[in-house]
Every structure is written in structure tokens, then in C-alpha cells.
Subunit: 369 residues, 4 copies
């Protein structure tokens, strides 16, 4: 088995022409596409419809190449998008293909595993039972990839459903209480459930520590490898597990590091170093060509400070705090990489150390001279 990775750009959230072209010219076999992770240019909040628009466009296009309806494809190919390309960030998507044949390069190489859970009920979203549901799905995705050791896993991307005002009303009408009536708050709880679900599956936290009360509260509990997005457009949980496995081949490797805060530029450099890439202070054009995907989670520090200095993200009524932090951390990571096609997702509750986050990078091995 091998994983092929394609980093593609879009002109707008309905534009999937880059992938369509690669399928048409034979570079990609549509049937081998197993997952998509991307950034669209919405606001990243509850009312960000660029994610649904891109997904609809993608599934419709793939439906033209395959024998399945858009709905069937959406139910088996996770398309996990984070909205918000603040600052220098650039809308893009990373397409993961799974090829049955052995590649020339020996492993350990990038392994890709997938799973979908059953739908999560509105009143369950953002609670411990939601996290356990996700943990089971993560283990299923690891099995799917043949990643038996959690240490081989470097990045787990989750997409969970969230709660709109309308969904919350419906639940209340049935006598069920959603975790929060505030849509942005409920979204945070949903991400927390996703993160602790990954942490549980990877053995980063104890089963006993995972209680309803721990979510968004006990910030000492976290995963160093979970990235969770939440959106109105889905009702079940989608899981993509990425790791390095000796059973896989091909040119791609993945590395990751936790980021201790929004200024942790050292974590970026260290992750690149793990892949044999030197940023001094930026990747060279040759090194940049090897980059196939950069994934970052980050979060405005809740005590109102970044190290010693006061930040104003949480007190800002005009710009959502997640938009602030994505722009700032995105600017820093893009500066080191030398490109704005970075997946930077806010809402890193329990994803990396509190007030920080994490970074994962996929790179191909060096081309021969």
C-alpha cells in the first residue's frame, strides 16, 4: 500500500477544477481518493457555508467520474474543511489517495486510515459520550491503516457535527438539553469531545479522566495529535488517521510537535527538522517543493496573555477570536515554510497544550540529484 498526497489550490469554494484536471489527465484515479482536508475562505464559524459549498461541489464532480451519487461519495470519502483563510493563508485542499501497489521507496511511509461513526444526537454533542464514540472511530481508522501502535500515529483529523440555534430549539422541544444554546460555545464543546476522543484512543489520557465536566474545563487533558473541526453540514463524525508505518511505502513521511503557545516557532522548525528540512529562517525553494501538507491547530490563550504580554483576542467584539489566532499563527508558520497554503485551524481546545496547539507536516523524501 502507499499514500499519494496532492496539494491543490482553489479559486473559490465552489472550484474543484484542479482535482478534476488531474483526474482527467490520469494523474489521479478518482476511485483511489480516500480523503480530503482543506481550508476554505469563509469565517470558520457556525454560519460558514463555504465548507458545505466545497463539499457539494467536490462530491458532484467526483460523481461524474465514478458510479456513485454525491450522497454515497460523501458517506465514504471524508472531506474535512476548516473555514477561514485570515491574513496570508491561502484556500487549498490536500487530497489523499490510497494505491494498492508497492512504491519504489521503502517504508516506513505515510499510512492513511479512515472511519465514519454513526450520527451523534444533538443532546450528545460535546459531552463525554461523544468523545467515547469518537475514540471508537479513531481505533477503527487505525485498524483500517494497519497502524497498531499509537506511537506510529502523528495526526488525527476529526470532523464533528455542531449545534445551530435551530437544532438546539428542536432538541429542547423534545425535552432534551443541548450542551449549550450558544452556537459558538457548542461548537467548542464538540471540538473538545473530538480531541479527548483522540487522546483516549491514543492512550494520551486515562479512561477515568474523561467526564462531562472535564470538557473545556480540565485543560491539562489533551492530545498532541488531534485536530478537530466542527460544522453544521454533517451529522456523524469523520476520522482520518495519518501515521508512518513499515507496512506502507512511497515517498511521504509525516512528523508532528505540540506547540506550547502562539509564539512557538521552535516547534515549526523542529517538525521540519524531523523530516530532514532546515528552515534558516525559511525553507529554500527546493525544500518547499517537498512539502505536501502543513496542518496546525491553535487557540487564543484563555488567560488573556501570550507569554508576558496582554492580547486582545478574547475581548474583541468585532473579530472572532478564532479568526485572530488563525491569522497570527498562520503568519508565523507561513513565514517559516515560505507559503500560505497552510491548514491552520482555530478551536484547539484539548488539542495540544492549553493556549498552544500542534503542528504536523507531510513531506516527500528528497529527490535525487
Amino acid at each position: 500500500m502507499q499514500t499519494q498526497v496532492h496539494l491543490l489550490t482553489m479559486a473559490h469554494p465552489g472550484d474543484v477544477s484542479a482535482l478534476d484536471a488531474l483526474i482527467n489527465n490520469g494523474a489521479i484515479h478518482a476511485g483511489q481518493i480516500v480523503a480530503v482536508i482543506g481550508k476554505t475562505e469563509g469565517n470558520g464559524g457556525v454560519n460558514d457555508f463555504t465548507r458545505g459549498y466545497f463539499t457539494q461541489s467536490l462530491m458532484q464532480m467526483l460523481s461524474g467520474h465514478l458510479q456513485s451519487s454525491p450522497a454515497e461519495l460523501a458517506a465514504r470519502i471524508p472531506c474535512i474543511l476548516s473555514g477561514g483563510t485570515e491574513g496570508v493563508l491561502s484556500p487549498h485542499y490536500v487530497v489523499f489517495c490510497r494505491l494498492p501497489e508497492q512504491a519504489a521507496d521503502d517504508g516506513p511511509a505515510l499510512a492513511t486510515g479512515l472511519a465514519f461513526s454513526a450520527p451523534t444526537a444533538v443532546e450528545q454533542i460535546g459531552r463525554a459520550s461523544h468523545a467515547r464514540q469518537i475514540a471508537r472511530a479513531v481505533r477503527a481508522a487505525m485498524d483500517d491503516a494497519g497502524l497498531d501502535d499509537p506511537a506510529q500515529v502523528h495526526f488525527v483529523q476529526i470532523k464533528t457535527p455542531c449545534i445551530t440555534v435551530a437544532r438546539a430549539e428542536q432538541a429542547r422541544a423534545c425535552g432534551l438539553e443541548p450542551v449549550s444554546g450558544d452556537p459558538n460555545k457548542a461548537m467548542a464543546y464538540a471540538r473538545a469531545a473530538g480531541a479527548l476522543g483522540v487522546a483516549l484512543a491514543l492512550g494520551e489520557i486515562d479512561e477515568a479522566a474523561l467526564t462531562d465536566a472535564a470538557l473545556l474545563s480540565d485543560m491539562a487533558l489533551y492530545s498532541e495529535r488531534a485536530s478537530v473541526s466542527s460544522g453544521v453540514e454533517i451529522s456523524c463524525n469523520e476520522v482520518i488517521v495519518l501515521g508512518n508505518s513499515p507496512h506502507w511505502s512511497g515517498p511521504y513521511r509525516i512528523a508532528h510537535r505540540p506547540m506550547r503557545d502562539a509564539l512557538d516557532i521552535g516547534a515549526v522548525a523542529a517538525t521540519l527538522a524531523d523530516l530532514g528540512l532546515a528552515a534558516s529562517p525559511q525553507l529554500s525553494p527546493n525544500a518547499l517543493e517537498r512539502i505536501a501538507g502543513v496542518f496546525v491547530k491553535c487557540e487564543p490563550q484563555r488567560n488573556g496573555r501570550v507569554r508576558a504580554s496582554r492580547h486582545t483576542m478574547l475581548d474583541d467584539t468585532d473579530i472572532n477570536a478564532q479568526r485572530h489566532i488563525r491569522g497570527a499563527v498562520g503568519g508565523m508558520v507561513a513565514g517559516v515554510i515560505g507559503d500560505g497554503r497552510i491548514f491552520v485551524s482555530g478551536g484547539a481546545e484539548h488539542q495540544g497544550p492549553d493556549g498552544g496547539g500542534l503542528i504536523a507536516v507531510i513531506a516527500s523524501t528528497a529527490r535525487d540529484a
Copy 2:
């Protein structure tokens, strides 16, 4: 002569208690304060009143220490503020004091020169005559500092008046046409005039090149050392010139570099290197202690790209493009420095290469062991 530099924090835009405390404990003589440059936490646009609020608070506080009214102080101490502390940026202000006595450290050391122009008429704002008025003020500020060679100048901070809808209406009622009726556009023209005024004074452009038509149009014309803010709260132009002069003494030095685009992390490292500071990839805590001020100008690239990748700053109806770029470049520079107290100002028209900007850093010399 010597320049003393104090980097202070504020809890909100009306908070000048940090400076008040230093005056009260004798660390600063109020009468030696010659200029203030800072960042407040507004939106940085036409309707950002945090700048006026801070200035009112500052002048009122200083008035309690000196024999002058707030209005008299405001007319002789430039207080140049940029609004907008997006992302990890932290509200702060840098206080410049001029001491008559020689310091122990020999020069060349940081020299500070000041000038105020006469008020600029609304119909003149953002035109070539405005730029010429500013060039004269810059030369006056260089004289004030004894900086006779433009090569000794590393940073010129300008504050110019701008045009609100109300001011534009008044001008039109008098039969005068402002450069633009759109307040944000007029603000851009005002900054352009400031930048080209500096470029003219420093010999970076030819006198003949400076025409009304060149402003916001011939982007090949620029200063590598101009930083211009524009605000509703003033009617004349305020100029602060900073350079290194053999006639000055004290521990402070200044360095600067143009930034070719929003990803030019190399310019940050090079400026620090000029001051003997190594970021690998971030300044050490000891090195950080030497930093007395970091000043950055930046701008969303007008062709909609950062290097090869599309950015979305200029098409965004929700977040002003200047807020986007400040957050991104601020995140990158703060990552290298290791602190969010960075003066990052958007609106870098003609300030550094088009789509880029510039950086200047003031640092003290290394402390002895």
C-alpha cells in the same frame, strides 16, 4: 545628548499608569519626554477612537507633572499611535526621552529628531503638495537630531491627518474637492503622501517623480525607512526621525530592512543580526531583554497573491484588509522576537517594496556579565 527608550504596556487605551509610575519614582523626567509611538487596541480605521483616547489620557497625565496644558503638550510631543492589535499583538507604547548629558557608552548611538508641520488643508491631504510639506518637516526633524547624512536615518515615523465623511462634506461645501470621498481610501492617500515625503527628504526618490498622479499608483516609488499612520484626531503632521549618530551616546542602536513581502522572515532575522542579535529561530530570553522597540509596516499585496498563492484579504467584506495583514505579519515577527509588543502598522503604501513593507528594531547593547 542621548536617547532613552522605555517600552511600556497599557491595560486599556486610557491607561497611562505605567509611565506615570516611572515619572513618580524618578526613572523618567517628564520634561525630557520628546515622543511616544504606540499601538492601541482599536480597529485601526477611520472610526478608531482609541488613539485619541490614549493621547488625551497621556497629555492630561503629563500636564499634571509639567507646567503646560494638555493642548500645549500635544503640540510639542508627538504621540503617534497605530490602532489594531490583531492576533498576538499587544497594546504598548514606546517612550522616547532626550537627555542632555553624555552617556557612558560611546556612539554612534540612537538619535531622535522631531518636527511638526502646519495644519494640512482637507483638499491638500493625500496629494503631492502634502508630501512636499512632509519632506520639509522630515528635514527639520533631521536638523533637530543633528543627523546630516540621510544614510544615518533608519526610521521616520509620521502621523498625518485624514478625511472623514464630515470633513469631506465641509470641503465640498466650500467648493473644494478632497482626494477621495471614501474615508478609507482618503486615509490611504494620506499615508502615501507621508511616505513619499520621507522618500523625498531622504533622497530615495527624485523631486520630479513626485506628482499627484504618482500617489497610490507608481508603486516603484517608495521609502525603505518611512512609517506613516493617519488619524482623525490631528490636523497637522507630526514627524519623528530615528537614526544612529556619532554625536549621540547611550546604549541604544537602531537597524532596519525592507521586507519584500508578508513572508519575508529573512528581513526580521537580518535586522536583528545587524544589532548583534541571533534568532534561532527565536531570540533567547537574554536577547529579548535588549529589545526596546520593534516597528513594522506591511500591506496586503494588491495582486491578490502572496508569492504564488492566492490570499483573500482584499476580497473580504467582514474583516478590513489592514487588520488581516497586521495580524499575519505581526504573528511572524512576534514569533521571531518572542514577544507580542510589536508595533505593526498596516497601510504601507510606498513604505517598503509594494506588497511588502519594512522593519526597524531598536536594541540596547549587550549588558556586561
Copy 3:
């Protein structure tokens, strides 16, 4: 001939289930749908993708009911959306069907005419030639409806293409100069061209008055019946003409009034009175049931005042002025009508008196007791 009008709601911009249900239960024949006008919940600016998402969803759904591809349908059924449901405004769409048979009610009744122009080149958008192109399309739509007297026309809805940063760059690369490089400004020029095109077709302005220089400048030129939206998702101009014609039958009538400013609540009451509806101060539930569509254009007054009082819409860096005005005028009109499903579109340049706008209402005749 008769026009049938359906006022439908959506749960999100990809939700066309209300129309799908009406088609499935036979209340609407899909083949008789000739136009859709609606409001989606984006920001209404250049980067509002809710319009494209809704259109894609609509055409895909209709394609399932008809023998045409989504692209073919989009090329013959104008779907004109305005983004932005600020305040009490509610996402909704009005579906116009044309039935060949005579209705029981005699005319004059609501007549519907349609036309599509050829694509407009980027460098032509927002210029006088663009307006002339639109005038020709309006006349074609009047012919289509059999509305031979301009006095019979009460409302003309136009959708024109606009200029993104990327499109502007492409044009410049070909040596062509777009009317403005600022996407929001270019959008305003495009709307101006649409409005003056309608005014020309309806005889509201002289052919000679229509020059490039007049657009966004000579605000004494305007149409009292034009409503223009502009969006990235189309390249040609779409026209829907609505009027009352003795040749048409059915229960629907349309009336309109110019609004002299954002406080012109009298225009709302007068339009309703033209249709035999009394608001005192609000429509009764019975009267509300007769409402089939309310269409409003409005604009922040450019002199910074509403009557004697200063407004702050144009100086606001946080909220786009069009979002401000839609929220305010939408609140007023919804208060009189008693429902938030009001099509309120900002950007009323040359659409109604300067700083004001216009209102059109479609209502069915009173039901018998």
C-alpha cells in the same frame, strides 16, 4: 398568461427543500419556473459565496425534475440573490412561475418578462457601454412580457457580474484597465451600470446623459424601478421585469414607490395602500397573508447624514456600510409588514433618489369571505 408567485423559506443556503416539496406534490410544475429572487445569509460582499451555493443547489435540484443539466437551467432561469440578512431579515426566496392558461381573476395582473445578455468583459463592467447592454436586455424582457408601455413596469431586477482582485489582475495582464481595482468599488460601478441601463430602457433618463463619467457621480440620474445586485458567480447580465398588464390574469398585482431616504416609512405605507393594504401601523395577519414579495433597495447617504443627524455607516471599519443600511431599512420595512422575509438589498446607487432607494410589493387580491 398568468404569473404564480411562491414565497419560500430556506434553512441554510444549500436548502431548496421547500421548492422541491412543492414540485413533488404537484403545486408547482418545474418547467413553469421562470425566475427566482431571494436573500441568502452571507455578507452580501465580494466574498459572499452563499449566492453561488444556493444557485448550485437550486439548479441541481431542478435538474432532477427536468431534462436539462444544471448549467443549461442556470442559463435560462435567472436566479438573482442578494446576500445579507442583517437584523430581523430572514433568508427566503420568491419563485416566479409562468402559466400559459388564463386565470379566473381578470387583469391587469402581474406580468413577468425575462432576458439574458451576452457576457460582459471585465474592462467593460461598470461603464456606460455596460449600461447600454443592460438597457437592451431590459427592452427584450419587456417584449418577453408583452409590457409595451414603460409605465406598466414596476420593478426590474438585474444581476450583473463584478470584478474580483483575480479578474482585475487578468485584465491588467492583457493591458485592459478595469473600472476599479478595489472589488467593493467595482461592485458599486457594476450596480450603477445596471441601474442606469434600466433608467434608459424605461425612459427615466436621456440617452445623452449616460456617460462613463456619470456613473457613481451624477446622482440626479436614477431609476425608480431598478434593483441591481452584483456577484462573482456570473459573467452575463440577467434581467427580470415585473409589471401589471391587461394581457395577463391571476390574483397578483405589483406596486412600487421611490424612498427618499432611509427613514421614508411613508413610502412603505403608500405602496401597500396602492395594493389596498392598510398598515396601522402594521399589517393585520389577514393582510400579511396577501403579501407575496417585498423588494427594497437602500443606500447609506453619502453626506454622512440621515436628515439632520450624523450617521456612522461610512466611517465604520468593522461593519460594511451596506450591511448597516440593510439592517436598518430592513427593520423598518419588516416592522410595517410584520414579517422579516423582505428582500432588502444595499448598493442602491442610481436606484431611487440618492441616499434613499425604492420599494416594490407584490400582493394577491383579497380572498373572498
Copy 4:
């Protein structure tokens, strides 16, 4: 005793020149000013500093006319500002003066009472004990006005402190838990405490009903006469009680009505009718001259609907829901009044029926011919 009311405009949040001019020309005796209620043009959120800027400017100006320092004046003249002049709303302030002498007009006439509470501890803000503290202050203000019957009270304006991220951190460092760590949420709790405090003082709710759990939860509890703002710039609670009293004289009367939802235009007309003013549909210029102050509270309905139709205010990540609702309800009320100088304040939790709010109008009696 009599109350004089002056409705004044400002050019920006630091502009108190209109009042200064009236004091200088003798129309107002500075010593008789007892309260100020106004709207400034910030965002109305935690980081709205226009309120503090205006207050500082006002107190400094008054200090020049009186023998007291700005701090002393701020401690005895409540200056209660609401930020946010969305849409057609216009920045303005209403100055209340208390004159000892009898006016020619007999009462009942507008009576004004004042009170200041002690500071509220951060951990107390937004809880039942905060509400009880406010109830005591309301009773003190009623005593101050000689309003012994709660039925005589038509409007109670409260300003309460709120919780910033920094204040919350300090409290937690002392082992104290603030009601919420989210600044916007904490602000809502503070307003709830203010409203229920008024309701308790006016006998609108039972003492027993006022529990911590009731705040922001039991929305059946409310006052029809409470208007509460919350801001970072104060630490104690300020109370202004307005009513009609037979012991007072002068031309001013006040009336009020609850608003059942954001479309309740009938409540506006009814309040005007109580004062002998007919809006048909708008006040005539003569009637408008009698208006001395319009005060509105409103709130986005939490079930996501306004009557039958879905609204999008609570799901919007770009524009704060309070800004949405102020713009909409402000547009409606300004349309009926015919002027944008309306005090419209969001955050109407427990102030009027849930999802609605209230309106109070002060008007002078008709001038003789």
C-alpha cells in the same frame, strides 16, 4: 423642582462641545446637571472604549466649569452610555438637569432620581446578590426623586461593571470564580442582574424568585422599565430613575411600553400616543420637535426566529448579535420618529418580554400657538 432635558449631538466620542457651548451661553448651569444618557459610536462590546473616552471628555470639560475634579464629578453624575450606532442611529447624548424652582407648567411632570451603589466585586457580578444590591440603589434613587409609588416610574437606566478577561484572571488567582470567563457572556449576566434588580425594586417580581439560577435562565422574570448597560469603565452601579410626579413641574412627560418582539412597531406608536403624539406613519416635524429622548432596549430572540421567520443574528460569526438587533430595531423606531437620535441598546435580558424589549419616550408638552 423640575427636570430640564437637552438632546445634544456629538461629532465623535471625545466631542462635548455642544454641552460646553450651552454652559458658556448660560442655557445650562453646570452645577444643575445630574445625569447623562447617550449613545457613542463604538461596537457596544467589551472592547468599546468610546464610552470611557466620552466620559473622560465630559468630566474634564465639566471640571473646568465647576470646583470639582473629573474624578469627583464622575462619582456623582451618572454618565451612562451605550456603544453602537448601527444603521441610521446617530451618536447623541441626553443631559438631565434638576432645577430647584417651580416651572410655569404644572405637574405631574418628569422627575429624576439618582443613586450610586458601592463597587461590586468581580465574583459577585452577574449573580443574585448583584441584583439585590441594584434593587437597593433603585429604591434610593426613587427616594431621591420623591417617587414613592412604583407605578409613577417609567424608566430606570442602570450601568453596571462587567468582567474582562484580565479581571476574571485576577479573581481566579484569588480563588474566586467569576460568573463566566467569556467576557461577552459575563456582560450578559451583569445586565441580567441589573434588570432583575429593577424588577425587584418596582415590585415586578417576587423576592423569592430572584436566585442565581434565574439569571439568563427564567426569562419569564422581567422588568418593563429597566434598561441596563454594562461596561469595563466602572466598578460600581449607577442608577437613574425617571417618572412622572405630581411634586414636579415643567414641560416634560415620560411614557413607556414593553415591546413584545423586534417587529412591535405598535408599541412605538402607543408610547407616542400616551404623550399625545400621532405617528401616521411618522411624526410630523412639529411633533418631532417635542421629542426630548427616546430609549429602547431590544434583544435577538433566542429561539432563532422573529415571529414565524428564521433570523440569523445568533449564528453570525462576523457581526455580534447585539449590533444586528440594535440596527434593526433602531431602524424601525427611527422610521416612526423621523430621526436617528434614538438610544437603542442591545442586551435586553430580563428587560421587557423575552426576545422583545421596551421603549420609553420623553416629550415636552405642546407649545402654544
